[in-house]
């Protein structure tokens, strides 16, 4: 039982860290809704790969889903470049289309699929330790946890390796372009890594809650700090604390873990905004009184 909780908590923390560290890129570049689009758009990929390879969470699933996610982002980009209608309208069109395709595929092919629409929207992480895995000293380590560890390492490498690039693209697009960085390509590179993360987290976290895990910590930092290094450290801190708190709260209340975590994150954000506005007001009063 203890091992179960330890593994589950560890995996959730990994998922949260992965999502949040990459979320900063989306928030800084005004692309938050793209994660929504990606999370919905990869549904057909997961269904199709289940049909063809009869195995979920495999390498092919990730490859196919990554392809679809990038395709969705590309098509949104292309449509909105070529036409005058605003970009978010196309996001709405593309992701709902792909999601609808996924739902149709799900409903007519197999009633015995290991997941249904409900579990995709809500996510159910407490089954994670029951997945396939191997045994060490009578403790079962699910493969998914290993994949998550690998992903965290990959993300770390990407973030450290591309920090300069990241900074330039996020804060000064024009400057980045003028010194010859291929902004579009590197954006798509980062987006595809985000897609990989989303796919892996997808089954356990659900399509909606992955958004809050990705966007909220980064948004909190966005209000609090201006330094990128601090940004990452704060992100880590916020997501780890909220995950641990949310995990135990959810355990005691017997509810969905990820939902609890994301509600906690939301409350954190609101409380912070509230205090910030109070702080501002008192500051203004103080200055006026001087």
């Amino acid at each position: 039982m203890l091992a179960y909780h330890a593994i589950l908590l560890f995996s959730v923390i990994l998922i949260a860290i992965n999502a949040a560290s990459l979320g900063s890129f989306l928030v800084l570049n005004k692309m938050s809704m793209l994660i929504d689009a990606i999370a919905h758009a990869i549904l057909p990929a997961i269904v199709i790969s289940f049909v063809i390879f009869n195995f979920d969470n495999s390498f092919y699933t990730i490859l196919l889903a990554c392809f679809l996610g990038v395709l969705a982002v590309l098509s949104i980009h292309y449509f909105s470049e070529k036409n005058n209608v605003s970009k978010d309208a196309f996001i709405g069109v593309v992701y709902t289309f792909l999601f609808a395709v996924g739902v149709v595929l799900l409903s007519f092919r197999f009633k015995n699929a290991p997941f249904d629409v409900e579990s995709i929207l809500f996510g159910e992480i407490s089954y994670l330790p029951y997945g396939e895995g191997f045994w060490i000293n009578e403790v079962k380590i699910p493969y998914l946890t290993i994949v998550l560890i690998l992903l965290t390492v990959l993300n770390l490498i990407v973030i450290i390796g591309c920090k300069k690039l990241w900074l330039l693209i996020s804060f000064d697009n024009q400057m980045a372009k003028s010194i010859g960085i291929k902004v579009l390509q590197s954006t798509f590179f980062i987006l595809s890594i985000i897609t990989i993360n989303t796919v892996v987290a997808f089954q356990s976290v659900g399509a909606i809650m992955i958004i809050s895990l990705t966007v909220i910590p980064a948004s909190i930092d966005y209000v609090l700090t201006k330094k990128l290094n601090l940004f990452f450290i704060l992100t880590l801190f916020i997501s780890i604390t909220s995950v641990v708190l949310g995990y135990f709260l959810a355990y005691f209340l017997n509810v969905n873990i990820i939902a609890m975590i994301s509600v906690l994150l939301g409350i954190t954000l609101f409380v912070m905004l509230f205090f910030q506005s109070i702080l501002k007001k008192t500051k203004n009063k103080f200055q006026k009184s001087l």
Partner: protein, 272 residues
């Protein structure tokens, strides 16, 4: 229903708030759950009232976040929609843990059950369509100016806040009621897709509204027919797929000039 959502959709897309629909449709969930918890029944009136309230709250929250802090609107939308949705999931869990035997079928509200519509529901839709039509008809001139140029509208003394809240009200109303039919995720398609494709073809507001209504009614019809012929096709998603195919076709075809009449005349609503 299709027509009404098409009409409102045009206004939504034109006011650059296409993604707000997404947030609203997600945040209907906690409202529906709360309505269920308080009333203890599945009476759609309570559920819709709950949905309306929480939809309204979500719009307020988005506005608060994006105005009071540095956080951009799109992040605000993403945050609000996912937090509200998670809160709804929590409430759903509570309901499942409690011993209320009425709970089955609550998830219909999420994933839609268009084929199981009752004649009572159809009447509700008719009323909604009438409300929306009359609102658009009454405020058409001022809406047009408002959508085209907000600053101009405010300088000539139009009640901007009033118009905006009317628009928001329409969006929330449509979403709260439509969610039952097509489900949470696909609701935004019903609003956004026909409007997008109509905007690609036409420049004038009247015509755009008309085309959006036509597009959405055609695809609703086709979707229903498809799901009737092939029973394994759920109704909501097939409507959405038809809608999206129309949208993609218009993206491709509308670029060819010979399909477009007087493309340079009329207002260009898309800029700003």
């Amino acid at each position: 229903m299709g027509i009404a959502s098409g009409l409102v959709g045009v206004l939504t897309v034109l006011s650059h708030r296409a993604l707000i629909v997404d947030a609203i449709s997600h945040s209907i969930l906690p409202g529906v759950c709360l309505g269920f918890i308080f009333s203890g029944t599945k009476n759609p009136v309570y559920l819709i009232i709950g949905g309306l309230l929480s939809g309204f709250l979500s719009v307020l929250a988005i506005n608060y976040i994006s105005q009071k802090s540095k956080i951009k609107t799109d992040s605000a939308i993403a945050i609000v929609s996912s937090v509200f949705f998670s809160f709804g999931v929590l409430l759903l869990n509570f309901i499942q843990n409690s011993d209320n035997h009425n709970q089955t079928g609550l998830s219909d509200f999420l994933f839609g059950k268009a084929s199981a519509l009752l004649s009572k529901d159809v009447l509700v839709y008719l009323y909604v369509l009438l409300i929306v039509l009359s609102i658009i008809g009454l405020t058409f001139r001022s809406l047009k100016i408002y959508l085209f140029d907000k600053t101009f509208a405010s300088t000539i003394g139009l009640p901007i806040n009033f118009l905006q809240s009317i628009l928001t009200f329409c969006i929330i109303l449509i979403t709260a009621i439509g969610v039952q039919t097509v489900g949470v995720v696909l609701m935004s398609a019903l609003l956004v897709s026909p409007a997008t494709s109509a905007l690609l073809w036409q420049n004038k507001l009247q015509l755009v509204l008309l085309w959006a209504a036509i597009f959405s009614s055609i695809s609703t019809l086709l979707g229903v027919v498809i799901s009737f012929i092939f029973p394994f096709f759920p109704t909501g998603p097939s409507i959405v797929i038809v809608l999206s195919v129309i949208a993609f076709l218009s993206i491709i075809l509308s670029k060819k000039k010979f399909f477009k009449k007087k493309s340079n005349k009329g207002y260009s609503f898309y800029q700003n």
